[in-house]
C-alpha cells in the first residue's frame, strides 16, 4: 500500500472516523444503475377467449419477481408510466389501435403509510388506504377515440386478516363501452405470475448444479397485470390476423427548464414486449438497451440475430446437434412475420410482435406445445397462458420446423404452479402475502 494510503488508514483507525463524501445533498451518490420493475414487462399474452370466442383477450404483465409478502413498500403500477397495448391490423409494423392505461395513486389518510386500515372486502372498501385508479383510452392512428374510467385496481392479496376471502369478494373486473357501441372488459391489479420455466436455462449459476432441473423458477411469485377483452371485430381490419405488443413509457425531463410532469409530455419508451424470450434469447446483451427503446418498424436492425442466431451454432459445436442452414427463415416466420397459412398477414413487413389469427377458434383440448402438437390455436399463433413457450422456442431454435428431430428439448417445466381461471381475466389470482404485520395494525383474531 502506498505511504499516502497507509497514513490515511492510520488516521482513520486512530480517530475512528469515517468519511462521508461531501455534504448531505451530494447527488454524485445518486444510484447509477436503477431497475424499474413497475415499468418492466414480464409477459404479454394474446388469444381468442376460450369462453367467448367472438372476443380477443390481451394481457400485459409487469413487476418481475413480485414477492407476495412485499410490504411495506407495496407493489403497484407506476403513476407516471404510460402503459400501452398496441395492435397492428394491416401488417405494416405500426400500431393502428392502441389501448392506453394510466394509473394514479390515491391515499385516504396521508398520516399513515399503511396499505389497509382494516380488512378490505371490496374494491371501494373504505379500509383501502393506498389504492390506484386508472383510465383506459383507445387511440386510433394517433387520434383519441374514447376514454373509460376512472376504475379501481384490484387490491393486493395481502393476507387473511387484511384481505379476507380474497377473490370471493369482487373480481376487479369492469365493463366499458367502446365508441362503436360494443362492450369490453378490463382488469388491472395483482395476479399470479403465469409464466412457468426453469430460469437456469438462461442463467448459468455457479456450479451449474442441474440435479434440480425442472423447477418452476417463478412459482410463488406475483405480478401486476392489465387484461382487456374486446370483440374481434373491433380489432381486425381486412385480414383476421392482428399483431400485438406492449410498451411502457416514462416522461423525459430536461436539465434546463421545469416542464409539466404528466404523461402527455415527451415520453420515452422504457420497455417493450411482444413474443416471449426475444430479449433473452435473440437480442445480445449489448443491444438490450437499444431493443427496449425501439419500435417494431425498426426491427430490421436486429434481423441478423434472427436469421443467423447464436444458440443453434453453439448447440452444434458442443453436442453435435446439426444447426439448420442459415438464413433461418423459419425463425423469421416465428418471430417477425408469422407463419404462412397460419398467422402471416398479407404483405407483412417483418417486425417483432405476437401475431394472432382471430379466425382460429379455441381448441377443445389445448396442448401446451401449441402448433408443434398440431394445436393451431396455440403459440406461435398468439400466446395463451398455458402455452409452453420455452419448450416450443427451444425446439424451434434447434430446427424442429425444418424437420430436425428435437422434440425432447425442454426445461422440464410444463405448466404453471397454480391452475388458471376459467373466466376473464383467466390468469390465476395472486398468491397470498400471508398478512405481514407491517400492513395491518391489528393482529388476526385468535392470535
Amino acid at each position: 500500500m502506498s505511504r499516502k494510503l497507509y497514513f490515511l488508514a492510520l488516521v482513520v483507525m486512530l480517530i475512528g472516523y469515517q468519511m462521508l463524501p461531501g455534504r448531505a445533498s451530494s447527488h454524485r451518490e445518486a444510484p447509477l444503475i436503477s431497475s424499474d420493475p413497475l415499468a418492466d414487462h414480464t409477459d404479454v399474452y394474446a388469444f381468442v377467449s376460450p369462453d367467448a370466442p367472438d372476443t380477443v383477450t390481451m394481457i400485459a404483465s409487469f413487476v418481475p419477481f413480485e414477492d407476495p409478502a412485499g410490504g411495506p413498500n407495496f407493489y403497484r403500477f407506476g403513476d407516471n408510466v404510460l402503459y400501452e397495448i398496441k395492435i397492428d391490423n394491416n401488417g405494416d409494423g405500426t400500431e393502428d389501435i392502441t389501448y392506453q392505461f394510466r394509473f394514479t395513486s390515491q391515499t385516504v389518510n396521508p398520516n399513515t403509510f399503511l396499505y389497509a386500515t382494516g380488512p378490505i372486502k371490496s374494491l371501494d372498501d373504505a379500509n383501502r388506504n393506498l389504492y390506484q385508479t386508472y383510465t383506459v383510452t383507445r387511440v386510433e392512428s394517433g387520434r383519441t377515440v374514447f376514454t373509460a374510467g376512472p376504475m379501481r385496481t384490484m387490491y393486493d392479496n395481502v393476507g387473511p386478516a387484511s384481505t379476507p376471502g380474497y377473490g370471493g369478494n369482487g373480481s376487479g373486473i369492469y365493463e366499458f363501452r367502446q365508441a362503436d357501441g360494443t362492450v369490453g372488459r378490463v382488469f388491472a391489479g395483482q395476479t399470479d405470475d403465469a409464466f412457468f420455466l426453469d430460469l437456469r436455462v438462461f442463467d448459468f449459476l455457479y456450479g451449474g448444479n442441474l440435479s434440480e432441473a425442472g423447477t418452476d423458477s417463478l412459482a410463488g411469485f406475483n405480478v401486476h397485470s392489465i387484461a382487456i377483452q374486446v370483440p374481434r371485430a373491433s380489432l381486425r381490419a381486412a385480414s383476421p390476423i392482428i399483431g400485438v405488443w406492449s410498451t411502457s413509457s416514462r416522461p423525459a425531463t430536461t436539465t434546463r427548464a421545469a416542464g409539466t410532469e404528466t404523461t402527455t409530455g415527451n415520453l420515452v419508451q422504457v420497455s417493450r414486449l411482444g413474443m416471449p424470450l426475444v430479449n433473452e434469447v435473440v437480442i445480445p446483451l449489448g443491444q438490450k438497451d437499444r431493443w427496449n427503446g425501439s419500435t417494431p418498424t425498426q426491427d430490421g436492425q436486429f434481423l441478423s440475430y434472427v436469421t443467423d442466431p447464436e444458440v443453434p451454432k453453439l448447440l452444434q459445436a458442443v453436442y453435435g446437434l446439426t444447426a439448420p442452414a442459415t438464413p433461418r427463415n423459419d425463425l423469421v416466420q416465428v418471430f417477425l412475420t408469422g407463419v404462412p397459412n397460419l398467422n402471416q398477414p398479407p404483405g407483412v413487413r417483418p417486425a417483432e410482435m405476437i401475431r394472432l389469427n382471430t379466425d382460429i377458434g379455441p381448441t377443445a383440448s389445448p396442448s401446451r406445445l401449441g402448433v408443434l402438437a398440431n394445436d393451431i390455436q396455440g403459440f406461435p399463433n398468439g400466446r395463451r397462458l398455458g402455452d409452453d413457450v420455452v419448450d416450443i422456442t427451444l425446439q424451434a431454435a434447434a430446427g424442429i420446423l425444418t424437420g430436425a428431430r428435437v422434440s425432447f428439448l425442454g426445461d422440464g417445466v410444463d405448466r404453471n404452479d397454480v391452475p388458471l381461471r376459467t373466466t376473464f381475466p383467466y390468469i390465476a389470482q395472486p398468491h397470498s402475502g400471508g398478512n405481514p404485520w407491517k400492513l395491518n395494525p391489528r393482529p388476526p383474531a385468535g392470535n
Binding site: 431497475s35 424499474d36 442441474l210 428439448l409
Partner: protein, 410 residues
Amino acid sequence: MRRFLQPQNLIPVAIIAAVAAMVAYANVRDGRRSRRPYTAAPPIGAPGAPRTSREDLDRRVAEMDARLAKHPEDAGAALLLSDALLRQTRITGNPGLALRAEQLLTRVLRDDPGSYDGNRMLGAIYLSQHRFRDAIRVAEKNRDARPYDPVNYGVIGDAHVELGHYDEAFAAFDRMMQLRPSAASYARVAYARELQGDLAGAVEAMKLAAGATSPTDPEALAWTHSQIGDLYFQLGRHHEAKTEYAAASQAFPGHPFAVIGYAKVIAADGDVAGALELLRRLAENSPTPDLAARTGDLLRQLGRRDEADRQYALAEAGWRGDAPEPKNLARFLAEHDRKIPEAVAIAEAAAADRRDIFTEDALAWSYFKAGRLVDAKTAIAEALRTGSRDATIRSHAAAINGASTALASR
C-alpha cells in the same frame, strides 16, 4: 432431485446444461472466455435479488466474500460484491469499502480487461473516490462500446458536475434521460435544476425519481425522499420536509440522510436538544466529520462551548484525513475562524483542480476571512455562476458583496 438424473432425463438435462452454458456464453460474447466459476445474479435491489435493507446488504457482502474466498477468480461475485460495497458506502460513509471494491475490480479487469460490466463498475468506483477525470476516461470508453447504455452518461455527467463543467454535465444528463427516464436520470436532472436555482423544478424531478425507484430498493427510496426533504427545507417548507424524511425513515430506518435532514428541520424550528440527540445516536454507528461539525454547531447554539470545541476538533481531524475532498476542510476552517492561512492554501489547491461552485465558495470564504476582499469577490461570483440558491453560498455572497460595497462607499 435424484430422479432427474435418470437415463431418460440425461439428454434433456445435458441439453439444458448446453443451452444454459451457450446462452450464457452468447450473453458474455463481449469479453469473457473462461470456464471459471462466474456468479451471475441480479444486483442487490433489482427484482429477483435481495432488497437493499441494512441486513440484506450485510448478508450479500458476507455471501460474496465467502464465494470469493473459495473462488478468488469468480468475476461475477467480485462485481456483485463491489456493487453492494458501494451501496454501503452511501450509508456508512466508510471510504474503505470503496477501496476494497476497487481492489476487487482491479483483479477482475486484470483477468479480463475488456469486461464491460467491470469497466462500468470501475467508473462508479472512481466517482466514489473523487477521481473524476479517471471516471470520465473509463465511462467514455464504455460509452463508445455501448452507445445506448444510459449509465455511462450518468458517470460522465456526475464527474463533470464535480469538476465544474456544467454545460458538459447537463448535456450528458439530458442524453441519459433521452435514452431512458429512470430514477437515476430523474435524480440527476433534479440536481442540475437545483444547481441552477430551480428548486421547484428540482422537487418535481426528484419526485419522479421516487416514483421510478424500485419497491425492492428501500435504501434508494430513503435516499430519494431525503433529497426531496432537503429541497423542501431549502424552500422553507418545513412540514413537507419532515414528511419526506419520515417516508425515508420508514423505508430504511436510520438512513443517515434522513436523520440529518430531520434533525436540521427540528433544530431550525427550535428543538436544538432534540436534534442533538438524533445526531448523537447516528454518530454511534456512522461517525463522520460532517456529523461532528453539525453537532458542534448545535452545541454552540446551546452555549456548550467546550463540548462544541471538542466536536470541531474531531471534525477538523476527520477532514484532514479526507484527502480526496479538501474543500470541506477549507470551508470548515473558514467558517469557524480556524487556521485561515491554511484554509486559503487548501482551498487554492482544491480550486486548481476543480472549478465547481462549492469549491469556489470555499475559496471565496477563505479569502474573505483572510481579508482578501477582491479575490473573495471574484471567487464568489464564480460560485454564483449557475444561479444556485444554496443558502451557504448566498449568505457568503451577501457578506462579501456587502463588505465590498461598504469599502467602495468609504
